[in-house]
Amino acid sequence: MGFEFVALSLPPLVIGVLAAMACALPGNFLLLRRQALIGDAISHVVLPGIVVAFLITGLVAAVPMMLGAAAAALAAVVLIEAIRRLGNVEPGAAMGVVFTAMFAGGVLLLEQSDTSGVHLDVEHALYGNLESLIWLDATGWASLTDPQALAALPPELPRMALAFLVVAIVTALFWRPLKLSTFDEGFARSLGLPTGLIGLGIVVMAALAAVAAFDAVGSIIVIAMFICPPAAARLMTNRLEHQVAWSLVFATLSAVLGYVLAGYGPLWIGAATSVSAAGMIATVSGLLLAAACLWAPHRTA
């Protein structure tokens, strides 16, 4: 049991939890700023980004793909803003125009280019492949202290940990301006805070989390984690500090419960194969949100 768990289940579980938390953290601010769907838009435009990066470099390597994804996310934000301002288009619709068109372009490029034999397809982009992130060199719990075995950890794990750390540290460093500009933008501006820059910073943080998580777990978890845990947390409390803490708890719960249910749930009811972990994590986060909508203390204003 020990060996099997450490090698096959522990890495995806940890990656899932890190991805969930990295997305939930900026999700809190997006939710309060009524920008919850930015996460949705970003996770769609990541696809053309990695496809273009692949076409340029010919490599399925993490760094060019993440750069491509980040560039696409940035391009999308700029385009949305441009269409909104130039055409005087309502923000939701501007977003809808940009992310659907970019996603369509990504799909088309992918279908047109020769990616056979390369691990790159639309399904992978949508629901990732959490289950495949296994740690072959692990022999048991002792491997956690064995540097040689640790070096063979799936690279997604340290990458995701780094992304979460960056998001967490930036959030902690800029906590006061973030809080002020989220709750009272006018007041924050009168204090001389660069509210436009702060807003952009939040979107950049969200994009960073989305791009890092996307590679490991697919965009469906990313969208769910941007919204569901923060939304459930919002119904639990009126204080931002508590809301962020609750959202991290919900994100962790979703990832752990979802992963376990996807891997072992079907076995319990007698089915032979497991189901998509990414889909199950999103489902569990939705069930948690549903419970919060029904019973949380602050569910109505």
Partner: protein, 400 residues
Amino acid sequence: MLADALFLQLGYNAALVALGATALGIAAGAVGAFLYLRKRSLVSDAISHATLPGLALAFIVMVLLGSDGRFLPGLLAGSALSAWLGLWLVSWMSHRTRLAEDAAIGAVLSVFFGFGIVLLTVIQSLPAGRQAGLEGFLLGSTAGMLRSDALTIAAGGLVVLALTYALRRPLLMGAFDPVHARMMGVATRQVDLMLMTLVMAVTVVGLKVVGLILIVALLIIPAVAARFWSDQAERVVLISGALGGLSGYTGAALSATAPDLPTGPIIVLVAFGLFATSLLVAPGRGLLATALRHRQVQQRVHLRQGLLALAHGQPIYEGLTRRILRRQGLTRPDGVATRDGRAAASRALRDENRWQALRRTEHLSELATRDDGLTRIEDVLTSDQIATLDATLAPQKGGA
């Protein structure tokens, strides 16, 4: 090949699909225009993603009942049911909890989609599930489809279009004049319900053609593009329908020319092309027209200021003003006014003096608020009124 495709020469199925996609595009464009005008475009994103679990469940149920599970009308009925549930949840969450509608939309779309993916992996483990081809509903695939499916799509597109046409009056009223609509006995809630039903119908029919991830584009992009062409409600709906139909038709025809051109993305990209064109060249609100208008106003302001400066005998230092005056032959290269220039300057000065006189008169002074430095006084007052004004100016008329 391309011409064959555009003239529907690629076979009966392809022609049927193109017909269905055109009808669907028109309906989606028109319905999307109502959605956009009500500022609820992104609700359709939740509805479309919410179709996936119903689609998968319908497949599973049909397999359990002993059929092969790919019966398209059955799949579409299942997807409509779960889309309805998703829509109900969005409105329940945004009304009954303090979460905003955008959060409710995001939550429903991601959770329903995630659960749908879980069900898809369940289906893949079923003996009948290997060839289910349900992935085709994610991005739309019309290549190699059955005759009956093509017929379903064509019929579905026409039904949605007819439904939209039948409901156009209450929808228009609800979108633009809710108060009047209520007086006529049409409740806003009912209009919303009709609108959402139509959105659902478009989504469900569009599943096989455009796919559930991108169908939202057909509801949003034509409407946003149409808004550039007109400010008038009915026209926006018509233009949006036309743009949507054009996207559907061109996209479906193009994708029939090659096996690896997926229908959904092509349709969306054609729509986006139409949007980009509208953004640039539409008269009225397009970027080119706006830039041109801005330039014209700028030139007229500079011309006017330059002429007044000439009339007062002041030197002009500003580069653009000097260029405009010289180009119109009003000054010589050294900045001295030509004969035309002097005449134009005195006309400008007289106009300016009349405006000032108008501001001093009691009974007409509110008209003076229309003085923006560009409107000629002849366009505001009658010649009689100008004559009266000139009479008050006469003693100080001076050089004019």
